[in-house]
């Protein structure tokens, strides 16, 4: 048995000792060369893989979505759904454990905690995909027919069989539920009902199975929509539905089969936000959003997906809060915006609130004052810290008419001072959350037009990237000057900020309205400022550094470390990736410098 197998790595930490032994007994080890494909998109996944050494890329067509290092496991989605959504390709020489699919599914059926990990991971992934402009895909999934799903085969038995025989049969056929025909009735008996009858009710093993079966079958037809099955399961609180066509039993539809669909369509938190009837109702959800960041991260969801899920939920929360606190006049003539990292959709760990209000025309002063106060107070009570720079609805400078904003833009454009740069940077990343989104489009366009061609101003704006050094030296060695012992580096200042601000400056010059850094990088590349290959590299660097930052932040929240990154605590692969990422930042800074001719400043 592979004794190196780490039983403490999730989800294996949820298995009992005998179950771990089963896993160990069933494991094989595969060796893959760089470029070998472990799982093919669209093909069934015969096994669950756990990386021992090396790295595996998860690829969508051409894009690398994820890099899976030691102890990472894949592909849980394919495992429960049967087919892979992505290619999994060895990025380097890789050794991996191979756990046969049947064994993994068997354990999921028997151990709910183990199964829950896969539910969570798959649902989160789907949720992330869903909020990633693929809402249609989820919609399509919900409208899929049950006949398109894989079912557990239906084994039909006669009610006269004894419990002992039925149990033996179920064991032989590897099923946990059977259809029981008894005197014209049709029912269902499960492993659980057998166990209950024998262990709890002390019935003899000779008891007829027909006497312990339950006859309250919930059935669906193969032509029914997945959504129908979902509703039936929820309404009847059943984990298993019987699929039948006329008199023929086609099989069981289990929640396992449906879990992928459940996630995308009815995220629990979303539902709670939409149902909230008062500000007080929203408070617990706000806490939940903050708490799930760590959970998602621990379960291996990538930072981009976490940020998307979190941003999406935060925005829903603010929209609902806006609806609950804004008087009619403001709801009709206003637009609530979020700015900064929240606007870029890159916030994970909660930072200061950066929000504002745009008004089409002046509204009643008393109404406005009440709204400003109620909205900001509510957010503060939810745990969104007030913005020290005062970029909040409560500040009259950030909640007024579009006309007022526009006159400010003109003032900022002629006074090249720190405050102006900061305000432009923050507003340029704004996204509408509630109300009339056209107001924001209009204001942003006005800002872009005001700054169009202002080469010198834009140069000063871009120069903020020079504030901090990129912590990688000439020979690609790390410059660790941070932390108490000077052995750490700050990836936010030295890596993430130069990327997001540099790209923001170029995007602003080009008049792009996209706010996400990743999309901006792609668009700027499309404008020919740099090549598509470099764009890819820069994007990967950005995501990797964000991942490191999130990891360090979450550790710091738990009282571990100071939120900085220490290369000497990383694995060799991570160190290499970090080196590559910082090197890409360095190259990018050169590009920005040349682009804005920063050497003249």
């Amino acid at each position: 048995m592979p004794k190196v197998f780490d039983r403490h790595a999730p989800p294996f930490d949820r298995l009992t000792e005998p179950e771990i032994e089963e896993v160990r007994a069933a494991l094989d080890i595969g060796y893959f060369r760089a470029g070998d494909v472990l799982l093919h998109r669209g093909a069934p996944a015969e096994a669950l893989y756990v990386v021992i050494k090396g790295a595996v890329e998860e690829r969508d067509a051409s894009e690398v979505i994820d890099l899976l290092g030691p102890k990472r496991l894949f592909d849980s989605r394919a495992l429960v759904q049967g087919a892979c959504a992505h290619d999994f390709v060895a990025a380097e020489e890789t050794l991996a454990y191979i756990l046969p699919r049947d064994k993994a599914l068997d354990l999921m059926r028997r151990n709910p905690a183990f199964a829950a990990h896969f539910y969570r991971e798959t649902s989160d992934k789907l949720e992330a995909f869903a909020s990633r402009s693929e809402k249609r895909e989820v919609g399509a999934l919900m409208r899929a027919h049950i006949s398109e799903l894989s079912l557990t085969p239906a084994v039909e038995i006669d009610g006269d069989l004894t419990l002992a025989d039925a149990g033996r049969l179920m064991n032989e056929r590897h099923v946990d539920a059977v259809i029981v025909h008894d005197h014209g009735q049709t029912g269902i008996a499960t492993g659980m009902s057998l166990a209950k009858a024998v262990v709890l009710d002390r019935k003899p093993l000779e008891t007829r199975i027909g006497d312990v079966a339950r006859y309250d079958l919930v059935t669906v037809s193969p032509q029914d929509f997945v959504a129908t099955a979902l509703v039936a399961m929820t309404r009847h609180a059943k984990r298993r539905l019987v699929v039948r066509e006329g008199e023929t039993f086609l099989g069981f539809l289990e929640d396992l089969h449906l879990l992928g669909f459940i996630a995308g369509s009815s995220p629990v938190v979303t539902g709670r936000i939409e149902r909230a009837g008062s500000v007080a109702d929203l408070a617990p959800t706000a806490k939940e959003i903050a708490a799930q960041v760590e959970r998602l991260h621990r379960q291996g969801l990538k930072v981009q997906a976490i940020a998307e899920v979190t941003s999406d939920l935060n925005r829903r929360l603010m929209r609902r809060l806006f609806e609950l606190t804004a008087p009619d006049s403001i709801r009709r003539h206003g637009c609530l915006i979020v700015m900064g990292s929240e606007g870029r959709g890159e916030q994970t760990v909660r930072t200061d609130q950066d929000n504002g209000l745009l008004l089409a025309e002046p509204v009643d002063a008393a109404d406005l004052a009440t709204f400003r106060r109620r909205f900001s107070e509510a957010l503060a009570s939810f745990g969104f810290p007030p913005c020290p720079g005062g970029v909040m609805v409560s500040n009259p400078e950030w909640s007024r008419t579009v006309e007022d904003y526009e006159s400010d833009f003109r003032r900022w454009a002629v006074v090249p001072e720190e405050r102006s740069f900061l305000n432009v940077a923050i507003f340029y990343d704004a996204q509408a959350v509630a109300g009339n989104a056209r107001l924001l489009d209009h204001a942003k366009q006005a800002m872009i037009d005001t700054l169009k061609g202002e080469k010198v101003w834009l140069g000063h704006f871009a120069r903020a990237i020079e504030q901090f050094t990129v912590p990688v030296g000439f020979f690609r060695s790390f410059i660790t000057a941070e932390g108490r012992k000077g052995d750490a580096l700050d990836v936010k200042k030295g890596g993430i900020f130069p990327i997001l601000h540099g790209i923001r400056a170029i995007a602003l010059e080009l008049g792009l309205t996209e706010t996400s850094t990743s999309r901006r990088i792609e668009l700027v590349a499309a404008w020919g400022v740099f090549g598509a290959d470099f764009a890819k590299e820069l994007n990967q660097a950005f995501l990797f550094l964000s991942e490191l930052k999130l990891d360090a932040q979450l550790k710091a929240q738990r009282g571990l470390g100071d939120g900085l990154v220490r290369p000497n605590e990383m694995s060799a692969i991570e160190r290499d990736l970090l080196r590559d990422a910082l090197y890409a930042v360095k190259q990018f800074r050169e590009i920005v410098r040349r682009h804005f001719n920063l050497s003249v400043f």
Binding site: M1, K3, V4, A26, D28, I29, Y31, E93, P100, N568
Partner: protein
């Protein structure tokens, strides 16, 4: 051993225990079996096997799910020095089976497949001693020595005078084999199997192992 085909032929004829007939003949499985024995000492004529593990390998896949593992009860006392190495105490072996039961099982498991090992000569010498006394035969299987595969990939074209290091730990480190606690029959067989799949792949693709390793300063 020279004249191996001849020895095989003689063994086949002189075999006193027909259970071992499965070892002879052409292997068509396309597989190999990584093997490691833990012993009471390093003298193949005196010491005894106390643990053995065999893991089949097929196409770069290490079939740990289909392994063979056994503890063997020694006939005499186990020296304290050797217990310190493999950490199998006499009480750990008290319930184990005698080699007379384990060996036929092990050999039937291996069948005609080639053996893969590190310093395989030693393991084979151990097995031969038992096989000679039980069945009047030698291990007939083809033998693949991973240190030789490694030597060929790394030092095959080395100029004279190159320092050559073929220690198990060195090879494991050089090939990036995960750290396993050594002196456990299964772990050692597994590490050997990992070395084997890598080296076979390197050979197939004509990849040589760099001799000067540029260790990072950090």
């Amino acid at each position: 051993m020279p004249f191996r085909p001849l020895v095989r032929l003689i063994d086949r004829l002189a075999m006193t225990d027909r259970r071992y007939a499965v070892l002879f003949g052409k292997d068509t499985s396309g597989e190999a079996v990584a093997i490691d024995c833990e012993t009471t000492g390093l003298d193949p004529w005196q010491d005894e096997i106390i643990a053995v593990a065999a893991i089949p390998i097929r196409d770069g896949r290490i079939l740990t799910s289909a392994r063979y593992e056994a503890l063997v009860r020694p006939t005499g006392p186990v020296a304290a020095t050797s217990i310190k190495i493999h950490q199998l105490r006499e009480m750990d072996l008290a319930a184990a089976r005698p080699i007379e039961e384990v060996l036929p099982e092990l050999m039937a498991f291996i069948g005609r497949r080639p053996l893969v090992g590190y310093y395989l000569e030693f393991d084979v010498a151990m097995l031969n001693r038992y096989l000679l006394s039980f069945a009047n035969i030698h291990v007939p299987n083809p033998q693949i020595e991973v240190s030789r595969l490694y030597y060929e990939r790394k030092f095959g074209d080395a100029p004279p005078g190159t320092e050559i290091d073929l220690r198990f730990a060195t090879i494991a480190k050089d090939l990036g084999i995960p750290d396993l606690p050594v002196h456990d029959a299964f772990n050692d067989a597994l590490a050997t199997a990992m070395m084997y799949v890598k080296l076979v792949d390197y050979r197939a693709r004509g990849i040589r192992i760099a001799r000067m390793r540029d260790y990072e300063a950090e």
